[in-house]
Symmetry: C2
Subunit: 338 residues, 2 copies
């Protein structure tokens, strides 16, 4: 199929669909469930509680420094499961492809997905392909949904219901890398040697943290809307407040540079490999140490704390001794960032 | 939000996204899981075996006689689970929306989804919304993924591994209704009073069949590619053959008329509420009787049988005493039919 393009017939459900499934999807994803070519996958669930998530990926451009739409589609969904405390197991992948899209590009994306799934230890078990006429979508959109099994002990992590004043807030590295990489590529800023997307599956990092036995109160990945959105969700309507030390939040020099150039606040810029974590004070140093040993946590840092004061509000303490309130993104900075 | 349009900011993950989720999705879907606004839903799974499926819907037009894209998105995914023998439980919904899409139309679609989910007895528990710039998608695309719990006794139904010569092939009503409705609407044929999509969730019909205790060997919904595609999948590479009596397959007069007018073979036209069913010979009449009592099975019929001859091949016996071989759709008849 090399050198060929996607035809409307590849979405027909007939002969061409079957060929595409066999020669691209089954070839790379290579799971028994997909080979059966039934409409649903039959799966074993080792537990009574699961975590279930979905995301559609529409990033533009589809190939960028540090990844592509396929890497994003696996890492993003794996991370949504992992931050809920679940062990990600199964992924579905559904493609909407524009007529005329090069099959070689589709194979690159699918091969990346297979690779990331292997790294994350998840299986791609079911899928779907639709083809729309030229001009009716932008190249390719991918939906992945995911299922993970959840230890009931970790049920509180997604909502953060056990958070108490004194708890410590951590992050696993620098912010804004993904958003500014996409921005730089769109504007031909020619600095892709200096920055790249942080897109990565974080489930192994998260399970290493949980295995320490530390009291983990909350985890969430800071994607669209940046860490400001997560920190707002973490404080809004709660009976505690939070305080963030701006200078403690890692930002790469190149990212800070583009942010200043283009007028962005890194707190609002999307990440694809960053989690905000809240842990009990007595466990913070132990957790930080474990995080730093993981390849996706080398620049981990303690960035703030939960306080009893100003309930429902988060304050950022700036380097120059001032402070500003954390609020959610009100408009849209960067459409199609993921 | 009435009278308003979708803005890029509704896909930002920030303030506008939260408003849209609250005022449209949570309002209609109204499940505890969605209200939490976490990235994954935490769900109880009453069993060790699940069925997992995904589909993206890109139908054009999005509103049509007998349904809309939202009805399709629920019924289609519910049916994919139900034909595997599973009891559908949970659905995810992910939207890709074009900037400028009327929020009133989105609400209509979402209200239909909520309604169909209620009828089917499934819960919409997690979701995602992306907005793309004007011209980068065609109005709205919806992905739904679904989870059902599977009784291990029904594990063979999806693959058909227990099919044996002598088994009977049934269908729950007339073919081609969905495809020809969409075709008529696209070509302004003005016959929507006479035909409508058959789009419907069939899980209750299927559970009534299974509850009879009949030996059900195989079920599959005949969507894209029509019943010809299912019948090909049912015979290709197997150690048995099949024979279909063309005159026994129900086709509505209006549908037959448009098919003849436009040059379509109803065997290849998409359905959205039809299943092909294989049952043991001794149970066929009992199953047929139960099917006819369900609102989505009134015109059910026995259409053929499994035979020991011509393994791997299916033959259609035509009204005039001839016969033709069943083959898969080779090109694309009707892009964006679902």
């Amino acid at each position: 199929m090399k050198g060929k393009q996607i035809l409307l017939g590849h979405g027909s459900g007939g002969q061409l669909s079957h060929e595409l499934i066999k020669e691209v999807f089954v070839k790379h994803f290579n799971t028994e469930e997909l080979k059966l070519q039934t409409d649903s996958a039959i799966l074993n669930i080792p537990g009574e509680l699961i975590s279930f998530t979905t995301d559609s990926y529409v990033v533009n451009p589809i190939f960028f420094s540090g990844g592509n739409i396929g890497k994003l589609a696996i890492a993003g969904t794996v991370n949504d499961l992992a931050v809920s405390g679940a062990k990600p197991l199964y992924i579905s992948s559904s493609f909407i492809i524009e007529e005329g899209f090069p099959i070689a590009d589709l194979e690159k994306i699918v091969a990346t997905m297979a690779d990331e799934a292997r790294k994350a230890g998840v299986k791609i078990v079911t899928g779907d392909t639709k083809v729309v006429d030229r001009g009716k979508c932008d190249k390719i959109f991918i939906n992945t949904s995911g299922i993970g099994v959840l230890n009931p002990e970790y049920k509180h992590i997604g909502t953060g219901e056990k958070i108490t004043p004194g708890d410590i807030i951590l992050i696993n590295g620098s912010i804004g890398d993904h958003g500014m990489t996409i921005m730089a590529e769109r504007n031909d800023l020619n600095i892709s040697a200096q920055i790249g997307s942080d897109c990565a599956p974080l489930n192994h990092l998260i399970s290493e943290i949980l295995e320490t036995g530390a009291k983990v109160r909350f985890m969430r990945d800071a994607t669209r809307g940046g860490i400001a959105t997560v920190l707002t969700e973490l404080s809004e309507g709660r009976n505690y407040g939070l305080e963030i030390d701006e200078e403690a939040v890692p930002v790469k020099e190149a990212v800070r540079g583009i942010c200043e150039l283009l007028g962005f606040d890194p707190f609002y810029v999307a990440n694809e490999g960053k989690i905000i974590l809240v842990v009990a004070k007595e466990d913070a140093e132990k957790v930080l140490e474990v995080m730093k040993k993981n390849e996706f946590g080398k620049e981990s840092a303690i960035i703030g704390k939960i306080v009893g004061e100003h309930p429902g509000k988060g304050w950022i303490h700036t380097g120059i001794g001032g402070k500003r309130i954390i609020d959610m993104l009100s408009g849209e900075q960067l459409p199609r960032i993921c």
